[in-house]
Amino acid sequence: MLSEIEKAIYYNNLPKDFPRCLDETRIYFGNEFCEHLIPGINETSQMIKLCKERNIKLSYLTPYVTDLGIKRLLVVFEFLNSLGFKGEVIVNDFGVLELIRNKKYDFKLVLGRLLNRQKRGPRLANILNKLPADLIEHFSSTYLDREEVILLLSELGIERIELDNLPLGIGRPSMSKIKASIYYPFVYISTTRLCPTNKAFRQNFRLRLIEDCKAECRICNFKLRHKSIPGDLILKGNTYFLYWDKLPSNLGELGIDRIVFQPEIPI
């Protein structure tokens, strides 16, 4: 069944050793979590070149952004548009969606995993037997699968939604009207602009101050362990992840037609 499903691979940066042959037919490139890490025109241009050489499709990932991040993205979008790029742009910010619609770029719009609002907190895994079935069903679902929301997404030009591979399992209607991708093995958990990694490198820090980024996340990450959480939480940069590599066996039934493999912590 997996052979019927499109395979994609995820890169935040240009990989140092880009494999000559890939199993995947699509590359996800960009950043979902930090506006300081948005790849510029040079990197994007090189990635486009690599994709063309290998006949691989490109999906461009974008993070949640302030007005500063919007300016950075606008430069990249104008560049993509100038190349006649008609591929996917994954939005994790409704402002970015509005910008793309307003500028009438011919990109395919995909709603990113930050906007599916799946609840992923890993602490429930240890107390599943104490939870009602309705709650588990709720936490394995996304609000995006409500009929009225699907209609709204369609009006907004959204063609696909992105999902995380929840340890609780994925609950989707078997005939959902919107296509979905699933990311693995890193499950997004939480993010902040009060970047813990940035603060870890300072002589003194103010907890609630957004400080200048020096991309400390490039040389450091953390594993957080607590008895109430099965497995480790992974903190990289400003974002927390859980490692979970068991994909559901019934992806097709769940309306999931693409798996997105993250070879490294996706930030």
Binding site: D67, T191, P196, F205, R208, I229
Partner: protein, 351 residues
């Protein structure tokens, strides 16, 4: 300028209004909702029972008292509702409508659209919740399609960023958090569960809550910060963002730097930073930027704390409207000490 204040009981509404609240907000977790989804699956972003009303009769009482004084009441419905909740949440909206609320605080696009499209809810206004994560001017533009009365900005925006958004949307009322809470992670993007211990340890939780013990301890800690050391005893009881984690560092740095990193990262996760932060020192600049509404967090706090918060903010707003900036900041700290009877801990949002 308006003060939007939290409430969790009809008994405190008159006190909050007398203190200066212009608007109130609250949430409801009914028994039937709790049976299906527990407190962990709350219909709003406060999962603790003590932060919520238990039924719509209580909500109606709050609305009646508030409306007698011309004060609006907002119902918080800022979770995201999945397919099986669709009919239930619409019934909750109907119940709140019947109780007479002035509007809803919402993050779910489908609910925004539903409220806008239904004739029976034309009188109810929409506040776009902080959980809708409006971090930039284009996101304000996005939400305008739902005809909101107001949009709440995320806590994690700097003064300059807020100023910029407001300058681009002078036609839209914006609301800013100025007192209490201050999650380290972003509301709306954070998927950690809260209220887990209330569900798994209901007996302990009931004792704590009935005696208001947690809030009393917190109040003492505000006054005597050295008592924050006691938090080591309760770490791990509730929110995942302040658990007592064992931390393993993978870093390509020198040993000397590693010890600093270890120390800082432990401080970051420490509950010792849990005293309520605020940005009241920025109210002067926020008013100058055109911000109309200042929101106080803390539905579950004791009435006495809520009243002090409102009085402090009201005094600060009055001061800000008639002051030079330097004079404002000095005086507002004096006001803080006068009202709370302990000095400002200088734990600020974004400073």
């Amino acid at each position: 300028m308006k003060i939007l204040a939290p409430t969790n009981s009809a008994n405190e509404v008159s006190s909050l209004i007398s203190a200066g609240a212009d608007e109130l907000y609250c949430g409801v977790i009914t028994k039937s909702w709790r049976e299906k989804y527990t407190n962990i699956g709350s219909p709003n972003r406060r999962e603790w029972s003590s932060a919520n009303l238990g039924d719509y009769r209580e909500l109606k009482k709050i609305v009646n008292i508030a409306h007698e004084s011309g004060v609006s009441v907002w119902m918080t419905l800022n979770a995201f509702y999945t397919r099986n909740q669709e009919e239930i949440i619409k019934q909750e909206i109907q119940n709140a409508h019947d109780a007479g609320v002035d509007g809803f605080i919402v993050a779910d696009l489908g609910i925004m659209d539903y409220l806008k499209s239904r004739e029976e809810f034309k009188k109810q206004k929409l506040i776009v919740s902080t959980c809708a994560t409006s971090f930039n001017s284009w996101s304000i533009e996005f939400y305008k399609r739902f005809s909101p009365f107001r949009i709440t900005l995320p806590r994690q925006l700097t003064l300059e960023e807020i100023r910029n958004i407001k300058a681009n949307h002078s036609d839209m009322d914006l609301e800013v958090f100025v007192l209490n809470s201050g999650c380290k992670n972003i509301d709306g993007f954070c998927t950690f569960h809260h209220g887990v211990s209330e569900h798994t340890l209901p007996f302990l939780w009931n004792i704590l809550k009935k005696a208001n013990l947690d809030l009393k301890i917190l109040e003492k800690q505000r006054k005597y910060p050295f008592l924050l050391g006691l938090n080591k005893l309760i770490k791990g009881v509730d929110s995942a963002c302040i658990l007592d984690y064992k931390i393993e560092i993978q870093a390509d740095v020198e040993e000397k730097q590693l010890s600093k990193i270890k120390s800082n990262i432990r401080k970051y996760f420490s509950l010792d930073t849990g005293i309520d932060p605020c940005r009241v020192c920025e109210v002067f600049e926020l008013i100058k930027s055109g911000i109309e509404v200042f929101k106080i967090v803390g539905r579950n706090y004791q009435t006495v704390k809520k009243v002090k918060d409102i009085k402090f903010l009201k005094a600060a707003i009055e001061l800000a409207q008639d002051s030079t900036y330097e004079g404002y900041e000095t005086t507002v700290r004096e006001l803080f000490k006068e009202i709370y009877n302990y000095p400002c801990a200088e734990i600020c949002y974004q400073r």
